[in-house]
Structure formats: structure tokens, C-alpha cells
């Protein structure tokens, strides 16, 4: 089969005949299951601060590259679809899109396990998907429906997936970094042997709470990795206008740092694996991912008032993460152009199906307005000024009651306090 394939292929493929047999044989195997190691060099070397940079040479394989390709295509398609949905007024409020930055989410996930925690900012759709979120959960949440990952009550900026240790999804710039260091603290406390990646942007890098949290993490030797997704613009303000020192990987001062090409999924994977190993032994480390977002900051921002269209198209042509993986796959003959295009078509359909399903999904019940405000603890129900919940004695808050038996119930609850 391989030979006939070769015979009918275009002249450019005749070079394959000169390749070693192993690579020819690999053409026979479907791309998605081949785990023969392939060695690739990252696009640019790593720049290190206070540590030894990891090697530029990355081990990967066909299966991983296929996964990278597919996952990034899903993310790209999802974000573009979200753009259309927003313009169709099915998504309201804020919608911060991640297209262009997919390599960071995908590369990071490849280096981690589900025991490691990830926490990020409001630009969280793709990170959520990388952690195992489904497209339905994404679109339903964006459209405020019940099937959303936060039951429709969070919105674009509040995606969470507890069972895969994805801690969101935060609207206030920089506030997730102390939370992330808290996650790392819990991991150390419980001796998990896992790490936390706390992601933030170049805009958030100027927040004081970051340095506070880094200081505490370094003092207490926490397995925290602070990842600056530097897309060079904090909303409309370029990094050179906001930061006296835009070398974000050096800003940790006493904490080591690494600057990574964030458009190269393999470089991201290498850096994250290195950082994980480092953090487990030596405490916090900062990663700066040099990346780029094609969309504006959010849907209300065209993204072209503070940067030129040439810049955007330039990055798209030269550094697009999906194109890089596509070129890798094609140059190593792991698949054909047609197969990759088929994958893209398949993904497009998958995304469309998820959107259709999400559109059918109902909006949350009115009672959901008041659920999950408090967790029920100690067996006592919250009662008081909100008038919406019964107290522990079965009475409504306005003191009307259901049973007219003439009792005045003065109750105490001494409940089993240990969680089940």
C-alpha cells in the first residue's frame, strides 16, 4: 500500500524513496498511534535567568503531533465560532478569545498530569478544553445554559473543572496568582508531588499581588510555576508602555525564569516539563511565553487601533502555532495535506454540532439564582434577610409557617460535624 501510494504521489515525494526504510514504513501506520520518537529542534533557544536553560532538542512522536494539531484546530475553530456567536448576540458580556495562543495551552497540557493544577485568567476557554472540558460545556456556558461547566452562572470568565484540577477562570486581573500559590501550598501540605501552573498576562505582570505571592512561595518552597502569557498587549497598552522592564521572566529576581517561544507547542512542552521538575525540587520558577493573540483583547476591541494589521498578518504567516505543527507533520511525512484538511473539516463539524446542541439547551431554572450561594454545612440552613430559604425548623423567613400546630419551636442543631 505504501508503495502504490509512493508511485502515485507527486514528484516532490520521490525524495522519500531515498529516505531510510523506517520512515517509509511509518507511512503505512496511521499517524495517530505511532509513538516512534521524533527529535525536533525548537524554533528559538530558551533564554534563562538564574538557571540552566533546557535543551532546544525536544522529543516528540507522531501521535503527540497529531494530538497537538487536532487539539489546536479544535481550539481555533471554537474561538472563531465564539466570535460569530457573540456577534449574533448569543454570547453576551465579555468574551476574551485565545486564538493565536493555542500552543501554550496544548504544550502545557502535554507536560502535565491531571494531578497538577492549572489556574488562569479570563482568557480561559482553550485552557479549559485542554484540561478535558467538552465543547458543549464551553458553548453552553458562553450562552448561559444549564449544560455549561458552571451551570450557566459563571460565563466566559468563569470556567472551572474541578475533577481535572482546572481552577478557572478569573475576571480580576492578577487575582488568580495568589490563588495559584495557595493551590501550590495545598499540594505541598498534602504532599501531592504535583505542581501548580498559575497563568497571567503581560498586563497582570505589573500587579503587586504577584510579587507578594512569589515572595511567599519562594519563602515556603512551594511548587508554584508562574507563567506569563506575554501577548505583548495589556488590552490596548503595549508592553513597552506598561512595564519598565518587559523582561517578565527576569522579574522574579531571586526566582529563576525562562523565556519560551509560546507559538511553538514543543518548546512550551519542554519548558513546562523542565519547570515542573524544577519547582518540585527548588520552589517557584517563572515562565514567560512569548505569544500573540489575533483577536483584540475582547469582542469589543477590534485589536487594530493599537497595532497594525500588518503586524497581525505577519505573525499569522510566520509564527502561527497550527501551521508550525502542520509543517512538522508534513515534513516528517506523518500525514498528508488532505488528511489534515479532513481533520479540520471534521473538527468544524464537531464544533457546529456542539453549538447546535448548546443552542437547544435550556436556560437555568429560576431557582438556580439562589443555589450555590452557600454550601450546606453543619446541617444548618441559612436563614435570615434573604427570605428565600427555610430555616432549619422548616419555617419561612417571614415567620409564616406551614403547620399550624401551635408550637413555638426553639431549636438547636448539634450536627455531626465531620464530613462524610
Amino acid at each position: 500500500m505504501a508503495l502504490s501510494h509512493l508511485a502515485s504521489s507527486s514528484p516532490s515525494r520521490s525524495a522519500n524513496l531515498l529516505k531510510p526504510l523506517s520512515s517509509v514504513i511509518s507511512l503505512r501506520r496511521p499517524i495517530s498511534t505511532d509513538t516512534t520518537p521524533i527529535t525536533v529542534e525548537t524554533s528559538v533557544p530558551f533564554t534563562a535567568h538564574q538557571c540552566e536553560a533546557p535543551s532546544r532538542t525536544v522529543q516528540t512522536n507522531a501521535k503527540e503531533l497529531a494530538t497537538f494539531f487536532r487539539d489546536m484546530v479544535v481550539m481555533r475553530r471554537m474561538e472563531i465560532a465564539a466570535d460569530s456567536l457573540y456577534k449574533a448576540k448569543l454570547i453576551r458580556g465579555f468574551c476574551h478569545l485565545y486564538d493565536g495562543q493555542e500552543a501554550v495551552a496544548v504544550g502545557m497540557e502535554a507536560a502535565l498530569t491531571k494531578k497538577d493544577c492549572i489556574i488562569t485568567s479570563y482568557r480561559d476557554h482553550c485552557t479549559f478544553v485542554a484540561r478535558g472540558g467538552t465543547l458543549l460545556e464551553v458553548f453552553a456556558e458562553l450562552m448561559g445554559r444549564q449544560a455549561g461547566c458552571s451551570k450557566g452562572k459563571g460565563g466566559s470568565m468563569h470556567f472551572y473543572k474541578k475533577d481535572s484540577n482546572f481552577y478557572g477562570g478569573h475576571g480580576i486581573v492578577g487575582a488568580q496568582v495568589p490563588l495559584g500559590c495557595g493551590l501550590a501550598f495545598a499540594q505541598k501540605y498534602c504532599k501531592d508531588e504535583a505542581v501548580t501552573f498559575a497563568l497571567y498576562g503581560d498586563g497582570a505582570a505589573n500587579q503587586g499581588q504577584l510579587f507578594e505571592a512569589l515572595n511567599i512561595s519562594a519563602l515556603w518552597d512551594l511548587p508554584a510555576i508562574l507563567v506569563c502569557e506575554n501577548n505583548h498587549y495589556g488590552m490596548g497598552t503595549a508592553e513597552w508602555r506598561a512595564a519598565k522592564s518587559p523582561a517578565y521572566y527576569k522579574r522574579g529576581d531571586y526566582a529563576p525564569g525562562l523565556k519560551v517561544d509560546g507559538m511553538d507547542a514543543l518548546a512550551v512542552k519542554q519548558a513546562c516539563a523542565f519547570a515542573k521538575e524544577h519547582a518540585l525540587k527548588n520552589g517557584p520558577i517563572i515562565l514567560e511565553m512569548d505569544t500573540y493573540r489575533y483577536h483584540g483583547h475582547s469582542m469589543s476591541d477590534p485589536g487594530s487601533t493599537y497595532r497594525t494589521r500588518d503586524e497581525i498578518t505577519g505573525v499569522r504567516q510566520e509564527r502561527d502555532p497550527i501551521e508550525r505543527i502542520r509543517k512538522l507533520i508534513l515534513s516528517h511525512d506523518l500525514s498528508t495535506d488532505k488528511e489534515l484538511k479532513d481533520i479540520e473539516k471534521e473538527v468544524r463539524k464537531e464544533v457546529d454540532d456542539a453549538i447546535a446542541q448548546a443552542k437547544e439547551n435550556p436556560v437555568p431554572e429560576p431557582s438556580e439564582l439562589f443555589s450555590d450561594v452557600y454550601a450546606k454545612g453543619l446541617g444548618v440552613e441559612s436563614f435570615g434577610a434573604d427570605r428565600k430559604e427555610k430555616n432549619s425548623h422548616g419555617r419561612h423567613l417571614d415567620n409564616t409557617r406551614d403547620d399550624p400546630s401551635g408550637e413555638v419551636i426553639i431549636g438547636l442543631c448539634f450536627h455531626n460535624p465531620l464530613p462524610a
Partner: protein, 410 residues
């Protein structure tokens, strides 16, 4: 009737409970029940005809002797202590420490974070010797970085740890307002119920002795609108320990307001394990003429005024609301229905304080039962001055409470 403080102890300090003075003969005080950790929910039912049922599991109702004072206090412990367990005497900060220590022993997930809580032992000695006992990983000294260590506590709570974050002074927690409001209060909701935040944020607040404006803040008024948090204020060693334990065991974020001037109150508390219901108010002194609602330090000003009022022939009902969010409108409502007049005495400032919210809540729910408009005595809307005399005038004094009651009951 002598002045009644909710508390039992040596005669020199607080006098005995009200149970002996107001309880109709039908109620019998009984030995204090010992509360084991595994208690199932149980209800005390007082019938309107005066007989009392002790209701176990809501299935069987057997008339039984029971604790007459229905609120979870040691009201009858003077009677109880002679018959069962003598209890032990301690100061309020020691009660807090005891509660904290017991919970840390009971649950390895409980840890304490704050400035100088570890090696120094806590600026008010609430965490004294805990670091020696539990180690540096469970009693953590943080740098002076409230925003981030509160955030870290919340992040740790998201994974299931149960941190107790101490603000050295409540006022410093203003720096962590974003974390408390957006993350602590809201994460349970915005994640669709995925994460609970079982954190306790505690610290001393209130007007002290000439500590200056920035160290005399009352943050309960700022935090009260945050959805998803609970706020409680302790006022006696008994409820301090009980509320501390309940707060730690609660799955919800709880802010425990202590008061700088109350740390050295002495009281005798039971030896057994007990908690105080977080959402319940405490009946300090039952009465007939007027309901006085108060919390924290103002409780003592009210009780002092109550002495004078009683001599003048008034019978005030004093309730320590304890739960600042949510309000225990059940207890408060029953009181309003009985007395028809309400006076709120608080240490918050007048504008936007707890009293303002409480006034609104009572008016909304019990307007028909009121014979007079609700009166609210609060601190003045000024930064707390340093000069002693001026500072005295910013907070409510017992004489003002007496005047207010006289006015209300006219």
C-alpha cells in the same frame, strides 16, 4: 433584679445566668448535656402551653427535662456546673485558642496563616504555642502581604484545606477586599457549586483604646453585602470558642469578628466539646418592654445600661445578634412580636452599617408588630480620633442607651 451578664464565673466577674430569674417554674434546668462530636440533629421543642418536649429525630416526642435556655449557651451552667462538670475558667483569647487548637487536632486539614501567628504566638496571643505544637507548615508566618496571603488561603481552601486566615487587625483586610469579595464569596457560585471555600477569616476590629483612626475600623459594614460569606461576631469566651469551632467546620467562608477590647474577658466554659450555631442569635436577657439588638463590645454597654434601666423599672430584652450575615430574623422576630419596640445598638458607623441593614430587614418583615419606629444607635460617621474624650464620644455609651430606651418606651 441584678444586672445580668450572659456568663457564669466567679462572683467577682460576671454574675449568673438569667435562667434562674425568668424561667417559669415549669421549666427545669437539667445537667448540661455532653456533646459528643457525633451528635445527630436534635431539637428542643417548647410548646406554647409551656410544656417542653425534647425531640429526637423528629420522630418521637417524649416529654423530658431539658436545657431551659434554648440558645446554645452555658446559661444554666451555674446550676449545671454544680451537678455535672465544673468547666474551666479562661479568658476570651484563650477560648479562641482552645477552639482553634481542638479543631486543628481534630482535622489535619486545618491550618493557620497570618502575620506573626507562628513563632511570635500571635499579636493577641490567640495562636500562642500552636506553632510549637503543630509545626511551621500548619501555623504559617506570612510576610506583610494581606492581599496575597488571603488569596493563597482561598486557593488552598478550593482544594479542600481549611485555612484560618488571621488579619492582625481587621482593618488590614481591606487590602484583601478583592480576594474576599470576588474569590472567597463568589467562587462557589460562579463555579456552579464545584468549589467550596471552607475558609475562616478572623481578626480583631472595633474601637480600642486610642489606637487611632486606621486601627479602629469596623469592617462588618463593608463586608456585609458580599454574597456567599457568613459573618459572625463573638462577644464572650463561650461563644468565641463555639463560633470559632463552628466556623472552622462550616463549608462556607466565615468571617469571625473579634474585638480588641474583649480579649481579656474571663468566663467559665464547659469542658465538653460544643459549638455555637453560626446563624443564631443569643438571648442575653429576656424581657418584656423593648428589644435591644446588639453585638460584640456594645453588648456590654447595653448590659450596663440594662442595670440602670431595670432600676428605673424597665424590662429590656437584650439579644446579642452574633450572626451579622445572615441575620437571625427568627429569634429577632419572636422578640419583636413580644415587645413591639426595637433599639439597635452597634459600634458600626451610622451610614451603611449593620444597624442600617437590620433596621431595613426588621421593617420589611415585622412592620405590623412595631409600636414605634426602630431606633438605631451607632458610632458617629467620623474617623476615630486619638484623643480619649473624643474617642469616647464616637461610640455609643450606656447613658445614651438608657435615654434611647426611655424615649422608645414613652
Amino acid at each position: 433584679m441584678a444586672a445580668i451578664f450572659q456568663g457564669v464565673g466567679a462572683a467577682a466577674t460576671l454574675s449568673s445566668s438569667p435562667s434562674n430569674s425568668f424561667v417559669p417554674k415549669k421549666f427545669l434546668t437539667s445537667p448540661r448535656r455532653s456533646f459528643s462530636v457525633r451528635k445527630v440533629p436534635s431539637y428542643v421543642v417548647v410548646r406554647s402551653d409551656g410544656s417542653v418536649n425534647f425531640d429526637l429525630n423528629s420522630k418521637s416526642r417524649r416529654a423530658q427535662q431539658l436545657v431551659a435556655n434554648a440558645v446554645a449557651t452555658k446559661a444554666d451552667s451555674s446550676a449545671a456546673s454544680s451537678s455535672s462538670n465544673p468547666g474551666h475558667e479562661l479568658l476570651l483569647f484563650e477560648a479562641l485558642r482552645e477552639g482553634l487548637e481542638e479543631e486543628m487536632e481534630r482535622d489535619p486539614r486545618v491550618c493557620v496563616m497570618g502575620e506573626d501567628v507562628g513563632h511570635y504566638g500571635g499579636s493577641y496571643k490567640v495562636t500562642k504555642d500552636l506553632a510549637k505544637k503543630f509545626g511551621d507548615l500548619r501555623v504559617l508566618d506570612t510576610p506583610i502581604a494581606e492581599n496575597s496571603f488571603t488569596g493563597m488561603g482561598i486557593g488552598a481552601a478550593m482544594t479542600g484545606l481549611r485555612p484560618v486566615v488571621e488579619g492582625m487587625n481587621m482593618g488590614f483586610l481591606l487590602l484583601a477586599f478583592n480576594q474576599i469579595s470576588n474569590n472567597c464569596g463568589m467562587l462557589h457560585y460562579t463555579s456552579g457549586g464545584q468549589f467550596t471555600i471552607p475558609i475562616v477569616i478572623r481578626g480583631p476590629g472595633g474601637v480600642g483604646r486610642q489606637l487611632g483612626a486606621e486601627h479602629s475600623q469596623r469592617l462588618e459594614s463593608y463586608f456585609q453585602s458580599i454574597p456567599g460569606i457568613q459573618m459572625v461576631a463573638c462577644s464572650t469566651p463561650y461563644n468565641a470558642k463555639g463560633l470559632m469551632k463552628a466556623a472552622i467546620r462550616s463549608e462556607n467562608p466565615v468571617i469571625l469578628f473579634e474585638h480588641v477590647l474583649l480579649y481579656n474577658l474571663k468566663e467559665r466554659i464547659p469542658d465538653e466539646d460544643y459549638i455555637c450555631n453560626l446563624e443564631e442569635a443569643e438571648m442575653v436577657r429576656p424581657g418584656e418592654h423593648v428589644t435591644i439588638l446588639t453585638y460584640s463590645r456594645m453588648r456590654y454597654h447595653v448590659m450596663q445600661a440594662a442595670k440602670t434601666l431595670v432600676n428605673k423599672g424597665y424590662d429590656p430584652e437584650v439579644i446579642d445578634i452574633r450572626s451579622l450575615k445572615p441575620f437571625d430574623l427568627y429569634t429577632i422576630g419572636n422578640s419583636v412580636k413580644k415587645t413591639h419596640r426595637v433599639l439597635i445598638v452597634e459600634e458600626c458607623m451610622r451610614t451603611g452599617g449593620i444597624g442600617a441593614s437590620l433596621t431595613a430587614a426588621i421593617t420589611e418583615n415585622f412592620n405590623d408588630y412595631l409600636d414605634a419606629p426602630i431606633m438605631c444607635l451607632s458610632s458617629q460617621d467620623v474617623p476615630t480620633p486619638y484623643a480619649g474624650t473624643l474617642e469616647e464620644w464616637t461610640v455609643v455609651q450606656p447613658a445614651q442607651i438608657v435615654t434611647a430606651v426611655e424615649q422608645l418606651c414613652r
